[in-house]
């Protein structure tokens, strides 16, 4: 589903964020991406959503080379990828409903379909009663869940999450991860970038570890623990 082939990324100014990274996440898999701050996690996610382009190498989604995607096609690529951010990236002057409806409005759904799908998405994340609340009146965990509802409202086959549990306590983090598991069981490929090692330790999922832009481990969490201990 997501495939990196010898991908390197050097930012203007010479900072090398990724060095010859290769991996493959098959359809329907859930994986963690970890590493210290500055290890290249965010860059890797940005290459998938074409917020950045690789300097060398190829990124493929579902067999399509993203290098061949023209800039004006990028919006259509992003409609296939649900993205979740640590900073939520919500419209602060719009209600939860309007925030979640945004991807559907952009795609030109009818008002009736939008209402139905938004209700379903907010139901799934457990915020059915906060539908008309402004993000500012919601707690951090609730804002994050509005962001997740927005990412999944048009049922994308890929879900990327950049530090989705960054500001949350362990209990809330677990709830969010359980939500991702539920989506993964419905067939969505999920890639979660996090440095919350405790969280990863409690799960049994494939974990990709980056250090200074290089992929140092790729495997089940148990193997990774064995390596480091």
């Amino acid at each position: 589903m997501i495939k990196f082939e010898q991908v390197s990324k050097t930012y203007p100014g010479g900072q090398q964020a990724l060095r010859q990274v290769s991996f493959h996440i098959p359809p329907g898999e859930m994986a963690f991406l970890t590493g210290h701050s500055g290890a290249g996690k965010s860059t890797l996610l940005k290459l998938i959503s074409i917020m950045e382009r690789p300097t060398v190498g190829r990124v493929l989604i579902n067999g399509h080379d993203l290098g061949k995607i023209k800039n004006r096609q990028v919006p259509y690529i992003r409609r296939d990828i649900g993205m979740i951010f640590q900073s939520h990236q919500l419209l602060m002057d719009k209600t939860a409903f309007d925030n979640v409806a945004l991807p559907l409005v952009i795609e030109g759904y009818s008002r009736r379909d939008i209402t139905r799908k938004v209700h379903a998405a907010l139901d799934l994340v457990g915020l059915a009663d906060k539908i008309n609340s402004l993000p500012i009146t919601l707690s951090g965990g609730e804002q994050q869940r509005v962001g997740i509802a927005r990412a999944i409202v048009n049922k994308p086959p890929i879900l990327l999450a950049d530090e989705p549990t960054g500001n949350l306590d362990p209990k809330l983090s677990m709830e969010i991860i359980n939500l991702f598991e539920k989506l993964n069981q419905a067939g969505v490929s999920v890639l979660i970038a996090t440095h919350d090692l405790g969280l990863i330790a409690r799960m049994r999922y494939r974990t990709l570890t980056l250090r200074n832009g290089q992929m140092i481990t790729d495997g089940l969490v148990e193997d990774w623990r064995g390596d480091s201990e």
Binding site: S49, M51, I61, N62, H64, I69, R72, Q73, P75, Y76, I77, R78, R79, D80, M83, Q89, L90, L91, L102, P103, I106, E107, G108, S110, D113, R116, K117, R150, K155, P157
Partner: protein, 327 residues
């Protein structure tokens, strides 16, 4: 529509039900919705939008008012042009028969409406009466005045150039000593009106450019204010066109409202000036009505200001929306 996943759009059961007719319908519904949303945003910040609209209104009012003034001046002067009349002074000592023949000949020309013959004796008598020299003229042993023909051109030949051509033709007649057409003042008037025309055009062009720049800058500030909103929209897959649309509608509304306020201002100015102009024209005993902006002139003005609004917003939208990318 998915590039990466063929057939993804048909996975959802609801999407299959969208017919092409419904899509076209939704396109227009979306446009109306966005147009109204843009108007709503102007409404929510009334002080800012009123200021911008007032500046636009004034910028369009000035050329519009000048245009109305030039148009009315042209209307008056077109009334004066009808008076063009050519005086032909004939050679002295012509036999009366030749003069009658000349009159008949000129009368037959298609350019000539009417010929009036003022004989030398008649001329002297008029001169005696008007000049007040009275008896003094009796001491002349010979009438020094020539016979004069007054030639009125037909309506189609009263213009300065046509009348000058006719004058040249008349001068070529053997019996004519010299001819005179008092068109200098007419030429001057025409030149002045022409210059006023150009002046209005130049002022209009300058102010229209100002309108484009003002709207462009206002929209640019709008875009920068919504930077984070635009970034979020791009993150969830909005095309540039989708993001640009509300700003283009804002430009449209600025243009329309600016044009309407200019129309209102022109009406106000004309209403104010009407009485003073009426008293001036009364002195010249002219039957004259001040005409304002008529139907299609008004439509042209509104269309122009809407066009300027759109151009202004396009200029900044195409540049700035592209530049804002999610970080």
């Amino acid at each position: 529509m998915s590039i990466l996943f063929t057939g993804r759009s048909s996975q959802g059961a609801s999407q299959q039900k969208i017919s092409s007719l419904q899509k076209v319908l939704m396109f227009f519904v979306d446009h109306v919705r966005q147009a109204l949303a843009s108007l709503g945003e102007l409404w929510r910040a009334p002080a800012d939008s009123m200021l911008t609209i007032a500046v636009l209104g004034l910028a369009i009012t000035l050329p519009s008012t000048l245009y109305v003034l030039v148009k009315n001046t042209e209307q008056i002067s077109s009334g004066w042009e009808q008076a063009a009349e050519i005086s032909l002074f004939l050679r002295q000592d012509l036999p009366a028969g030749d003069i009658q023949q000349l009159i008949r000949r000129i009368n037959a020309w298609p350019e000539v409406e009417q010929v009036v013959h003022i004989t030398a004796e008649q001329g002297l008598k008029d001169f005696q009466q008007r000049s007040g020299m009275g008896d003094a003229l009796k001491y002349l042993n010979k009438n020094p005045l020539p016979d004069v023909l007054l030639v009125m051109p037909t309506a189609r030949h009263t213009g300065p150039t046509a009348a000058a051509l006719l004058l040249d033709k008349l001068r070529n007649e053997r019996e004519v000593e010299f001819g005179k057409l008092d068109i200098d003042w007419l030429n001057r008037l025409h030149a002045a009106v022409e210059m006023a025309h150009d002046l209005v055009l130049m002022i209009a062009l300058l102010l229209f450019m100002a309108v484009v720049v003002i709207i462009g800058n206002t929209i640019r500030l709008n875009i920068l204010n919504k930077r984070s909103e635009i970034q979020i929209m791009k993150l969830v897959g909005a095309t540039d066109a989708f993001i640009q649309r509300p700003f283009l509608y804002t430009g449209f509304w600025y243009g329309l409202l600016g044009g309407l306020s200019a129309w209102f201002a022109v009406m106000l100015l004309l209403w104010w000036a009407e009485s003073s102009i009426a008293s001036l024209t009364e002195l010249y005993a002219h039957d004259f009505n001040l005409t304002g902006l008529q139907g299609n002139e008004l439509l042209t003005m509104l269309g122009l200001s809407i066009g300027l609004g759109l151009v202004g917003s396009m200029l900044s939208v195409y540049r700035h929306v592209k530049d804002i990318e999610p970080q």
